[in-house]
Amino acid sequence: MRIPLIAKALGLEIGAYLLLKLGMPLITSPLPSSVIFMYMTLVTISIVLYVSIYEDDYNNFFVPIAAFIRGGKGESAARKLSRAAVFILIPLFFGFRSYQGIQINFEPPFPQRVIHPAPPGSAAGFMNPYGDDKNHREEYIQEGRKVFYENCVFCHGDKLDGKGFFAEALNVKPANFADATTISMLQESFVFWRVKTGGIGLPEESTPWDSAMPRWELILSEEERWKAIMFLYDYTGFKPRTWELGSDE
């Protein structure tokens, strides 16, 4: 049995929508509605193009639709009723959309915050002067531990999970070092820059005005900061990200 062209088109339209709305979140994060709208417009244009290239398709597609809208003598009651329903529902839909459009939006401005922004030029190339000293490594880590527990634990927490004593009060939550998407993804140099200049040193796309991360260069010496970073990696078992061997940079 041949499936009518209209049903195919409708099926494709609905299928594409479901794929974007429900299928994509399984692979990646949910798509914003503007992106879905863009794709659906493309799908619709493609379908219209497809059915209007050839006359037989055109006839199969548009003639039944035109006949439905037009109506005629000797129609079944069900067909008349469904036409009336379509004629009423479409204006109501547009009316509802315009109501939604006019309504005042009470959502406060919500910044799309970049968590790991590209560091400025001044942030590149910090080298840990204590990193290669294997003989004193344990000692440095212990000193770093002390720095952490005297300064950082209040927000980043005893378990380094970002759930310290003060974390609840903050809007930009303290980083969770125990999670595989924070310090293990970052180069040591980047981590050092974030510790050194703090939230206030972030570029604007990272909403520096909301970050409670102190500018530690005002409080801790460079040595203390490096040792604290060594402690973070040691405690969590992560390694800082490095450029792979053989890469150009």
């Binding site: 547009f94 315009s98 993804m185 206030i200 991360m213 409080i219 969590t236």
Partner: protein, 525 residues
């Protein structure tokens, strides 16, 4: 057949084209994520020896030592800045137990503290990091720090929680009687906010100041905030603190009444939900300056947790104000705020004397940006602004019951106080709680220094509180991050006008389309 081939090709071309666009755009969106996927696996958890004590030692040295210290004396590096201090396992004075006063805790008591943590302190809940076996092992180890455990013979007696009496108005009333009879008010205060006459002079076994619990915040009760936990506390006391056991004065019934009363002081749900948007509520006529005016009851309440200012020296690691509750009202030309927060004493400014550090008046402040930035996204730094963008602060001073205004461009820069304030209001202190109103007209003369309000826009807002008895002043204050306050405009009448117009117009178009199609059909016939 001649038509078949090109048609198929055309169809495939259009489908591939669509697919290509899809892949390209999706790919560019996902690239940012892809770049961050290469993370090394964390090192496998340390291999622990089979001996429990040896395993416990290794766990202790990784997880506990930083607060509880090398020798278990509660003197790890974190100890200097936490209040309360980490427990000393050497002294083995444990507060949260199921055993009678001055006795050691059971292993299960210790297990419970390690598992759930102690809310409101630096002690986290370890269940997600240490499995039950490990928690038992580390408990075994910490018992080696004090000889008291070896001297212990036989098993420990425990306080049993008897047949429950459900909470009721009557039970709460009887509980209140016990509360007064047993002298709880002396430390915990009339309304249980930890503000009794003895609140500031109590000492623990180390001769450190110790403060009675604010019984209105059961989510901060270390040993649990439900009636059964309170029952346990009043019958066990808190070792090492002045909190006695009332076991000899309470039977099961009285214990439940007292527990039900204390529980009733906190919200039913326990910890309130954290507020986000502060929605101001429209009222007719003048805004009240009285914190107890019934008009405030109509306004939405926002509960905002606070943290100590620890970003700039001099830092505050131990604020006493842990949260503040905010309401807002507005009319045609004014906006007002009601601030409510708990403080265990009304502080009087006093210079330093001998051992006692300087004391200050209690203060509260509302912080706004001096100006709204275009787009509403950019803000001054949340801790008192920055060099580029300044903030406008409204301070209420408890001792003088007066309001002053200031402007700040960073906490380390000199704060500039205005000669006169456009903000009016008043407040008072009662039973361990401040209630303060501050209000102002939307617009002022000084449009450079004062925030200018407008209905229908989102204004960043933050709050500060200072407990002068705790030495809080200037940089040492409890703070919140930025929130927004919003005055909702009256509903635009066009909401009811345009949609029907759209409905009629679309319907008209439909009829028009139908007519055209009919006409075309007739012509083709």
């Amino acid at each position: 057949m001649s038509r078949f081939l090109p048609k198929t090709i055309l169809r495939w071309v259009s489908i591939s084209f669509l697919g290509l666009i899809f892949v390209l755009t999706t790919n560019s969106m996902l690239r940012a994520d892809e770049e961050e996927t290469a993370s090394p696996a964390p090192a496998a958890d340390e291999q622990l020896p089979s001996d429990d004590l040896a395993a416990g030692k290794i766990i202790y040295e990784k997880r506990c030592i930083s607060c509880h210290g090398d020798e278990g004396d509660g003197d790890g590096p974190a100890a200097i800045r936490f209040q309360p201090k980490p427990r000393s396992f050497k002294k083995a004075e444990f507060k949260y137990r199921s055993t009678p006063r001055d006795m050691l805790p059971t292993d299960d008591d210790l297990f419970s503290a390690v598992t759930h943590g102690l809310p409101g302190t630096g002690m986290p809940d370890w269940a997600d990091v240490l499995n039950e076996k490990k928690r038992r092992q580390v408990i075994k180890y910490i018992k080696t720090f004090s000889p008291k455990w070896q001297e212990l013979s036989g098993s420990l007696p425990t306080v049993t929680v008897g047949e429950p009496i459900p909470s009721s108005e009557e039970s709460i009333k009887k509980g209140r009687e016990q509360f007064e009879l047993l002298g709880c008010i002396g430390c915990h205060g009339n309304q249980g906010r930890g503000d009794g006459p003895l609140a500031l002079v109590l000492k623990n076994h180390r001769n450190d100041p110790v403060f009675p619990r604010n019984l209105n915040k059961n989510w901060l009760f270390r040993g649990g905030g439900e009636a059964k936990d309170i029952y346990m506390r009043v019958n066990t006391g808190l070792n090492g603190t002045p909190m006695p056991s009332f076991a000899d004065k309470l039977d099961n019934e009285k214990s439940w009444h007292l527990a039900n009363y204390v529980r009733s002081l906190s919200p039913k749900q326990g910890k309130p939900d954290r507020g986000s948007l502060i929605k101001s509520h429209r009222v007719e006529g003048t805004l009240p300056t009285d914190p107890d005016d019934p008009l405030w009851e109509g306004a939405q309440q926002s509960w905002l947790p606070m943290l100590g200012q620890i970003s700039f020296r001099k830092r505050l690691f131990t604020p006493t104000v842990t949260d503040i509750t905010v309401k807002s009202l507005f009319n045609d030309n004014e906006i007002g705020f009601l601030l409510v927060w708990d403080d265990r004493s009304m502080s009087k400014a006093k210079p330093a004397k001998k051992k006692r550090p300087e004391r200050f008046s209690d203060k509260v402040a509302i912080q706004f940006p001096e100006k709204l930035e275009p787009g509403g996204m950019k803000k001054p730094y949340f801790i008192m602004g920055d060099e580029k963008l300044g903030v406008n602060l409204w301070y209420w001073n408890a001792e003088e019951n007066q309001i002053v205004e200031s402007n700040s461009r960073g906490i380390l820069n000199e704060e500039v106080f205005q000669d006169a304030s456009d903000v009016s209001g008043k407040g008072y202190y009662k039973d361990g709680q401040y209630r303060v109103v501050m209000k102002r007209t939307f617009e002022t003369v000084d449009k450079e220094k004062d925030i200018q309000f407008k209905i229908g826009e989102f204004f960043p807002i933050a709050f500060h509180a200072m407990d002068g008895t705790n030495g809080e002043n200037k940089t040492q204050r409890a703070i919140t991050p930025w929130y927004f306050v919003f005055m909702e405009p009256e509903i635009d009448k066009t909401v009811y006008f345009y949609p029907p117009v759209v409905v009629v117009a679309v319907f008209g178009l439909e009829i028009l389309l139908q007519k055209i199609l009919k006409k075309m059909h007739k012509e083709s016939d």
